[in-house]
């Protein structure tokens, strides 16, 4: 930071003899920032400052007219340039034709103000320094040492406002933003619009809808369900409600519990007849011994008896039919043979005694007439 700062300062100091305050300020800044550096460097800086003050004093002696002391325009950093220009303008406006001593005193006040701290003391010290240099134009080491010490004390007692540069940067940024907004041309209009929209909300008073007596216009409103119902929509609505209520399983164990409840997994203990609930309570004898069922209606002997016994044997050996289905088979044969009783008697076989208790309507194919 330091070398850059000094580089920045040099042209500046060269350029503006008139407002040397800036130079002093910069140097003090630099000087302050050197606190932690070696004492040698410090000493060097103090020397430089003293030299600067001396040059200023020499300028005083010469007393050049203001228009002749026009400095050479050099490239400056933008900010510094702007500041210096501002300063220049101020000075040009107010104190163009003032005597140099007055100017110097003004500058001293300005410096004091800009540095902060005890303003009066700073100012007086600065002026003191200037007077010393004015009184002793020749180089005398004693004075120099004395002055430098004084200055050192003075500077060590001061606080340098470093935030100013930052502030100025911020300001400039704000300025630029403002400028851009103006360029775009909707800075003020936007504000007004927002104000317009905001106002009614500020004045908003809540209205109670049910405060007054109803008009009774819609009293005859019929709330009948005349519109058609959409079963798919209803089903989906129900489904969505159910999904809103039920939670998804947190982990695989809960998932497996759900699967078991849904019958997708085996329940423990493993049973091969799991899920065959309708045949659970049926004794095996009902499956196997079917002849008592035909005893009550079948003739004791003859072709029908023979046939029915064979049917019973076949059914008792069939593991894939339930008891109900087996009984149904027997009942069907009973009904069928009962209908053919006449034919049976004609043939010479024995007749079927009776119909079953629960006569069923079985399917009968329609036989077309010949």
């Amino acid at each position: 930071m330091n070398p850059t700062l000094s580089i920045k300062c040099i042209p500046y100091i060269n350029s503006s003899k008139r407002n040397g305050i800036r130079g002093v300020y910069c140097l003090t800044q630099r000087f302050k920032s050197d606190d932690d550096n070696s004492s040698k460097k410090n000493q060097l800086a103090i020397d430089k400052l003293n030299n600067l003050l001396k040059t200023m004093k020499k300028g005083n002696d010469v007393e050049m007219p203001p228009h002749e002391s026009k400095p050479i325009e050099l490239a400056k950093p933008r900010q510094l340039a702007r500041k210096s220009e501002q300063n220049k303008q101020n000075i040009d406006d107010s104190k163009q034709n003032k005597p140099l001593g007055e100017k110097l005193s003004d500058a001293a006040t300005e410096v004091a103000q800009s540095i902060g701290g005890d303003t009066n003391k700073t100012k007086s010290d600065l002026l003191n320094l200037l007077r010393i240099y004015n009184n002793e134009p020749n180089d005398s080491s004693e004075k120099k040492v004395k002055s430098s010490v004084q200055l050192d004390d003075l500077l060590s007692g001061m606080k340098i406002d470093r935030s100013q540069s930052k502030k100025s940067v911020e300001f400039s940024a704000v300025d630029r933003a403002q400028r851009i907004r103006e360029l775009l041309g909707h800075s003020s209009g936007d504000h007004q619009r927002t104000k317009k929209y905001r106002k009614p909300m500020d004045n908003y008073m809540p209205i109670n809808l049910f405060s007054s007596e109803p008009l009774g216009i819609f009293k005859n409103f019929d709330t009948k369900k005349d519109f058609p119902t959409l079963p798919t929509w209803d089903r989906l609505h129900e489904k969505s409600l159910q999904t809103a209520v039920t939670h998804p399983p947190k982990n695989i164990y809960e998932q497996m519990i759900i699967w078991t409840e849904q019958g997708k997994l085996w329940k423990f203990p493993i049973n091969n007849e799991q899920g065959m609930d309708d045949e659970n309570n049926v004794f095996f004898a009902e499956h196997v011994f079917l002849e008592p069922l035909i005893d009550e209606w079948c003739p004791k002997k003859g072709p029908i008896r023979h046939f029915m016994e064979l049917v019973c044997v076949g059914l008792s050996k069939n593991p894939f039919l339930s008891v109900e289905e087996k009984k149904d088979h027997l009942n069907w044969f009973r009904q069928y043979f009962y209908e053919k009783n006449q034919l049976l008697s004609e043939v010479g076989a024995f007749e079927i005694k009776s119909l079953p208790e629960n006569v069923k309507e079985y399917y009968k194919p329609t036989i077309p007439d010949e």
Partner: protein, 138 residues
């Protein structure tokens, strides 16, 4: 009078020529909308129809056959049974149904236990979509 009769008849004609409403769609769809079903193929649908027939009438055919195919029952009764079974639906027979792939309706090369064609089975098994199916390794 004639005018009234004429109007009445016109009303009748109007009622007759009303477009049929598709009940399942609440008349929202046009009347000649193609009706879609869950079957992958018309052959599959046909097979399903046969299976339903078998489910309903298979038992009767079985009983008639039991009556017919023996030499115990008197011949007169067997002849009657012959006629009756002839008039039963033909599709109510186990030989009429076809084992088809339930996904692609392919009639051959089906893996019986999963009711899938070998191609679909291979595909699903490759992606571990069939529980308990493992690639042979030895």
């Amino acid at each position: 009078m004639a005018f009234i009769i004429n109007a009445f008849q016109r009303c009748k004609a109007l009622a007759k020529f009303q477009t049929p409403v598709n009940d399942t769609c609440l008349g929202v769809l046009p009347c000649y909308q193609q009706i879609r079903n869950k079957w992958p193929d018309f052959r599959m649908k046909k097979d399903a129809r046969k299976r339903n027939t078998l489910k309903e009438y298979g038992v009767y055919k079985l009983r008639y056959n039991a009556l017919r195919k023996n030499d115990i029952i008197p011949l007169e009764i067997q002849e009657i049974a012959d006629k009756e079974i002839y008039n039963c639906p033909r599709d109510a027979s186990i030989t009429r149904i076809v084992q088809r792939c339930q996904v692609t309706s392919r009639p051959r090369g089906n893996v019986k236990r999963w009711r899938l064609s070998r191609i679909v089975f291979r595909h699903l098994a490759d992606y571990n979509k069939l529980a308990g199916v493992q690639r042979a390794m030895w």
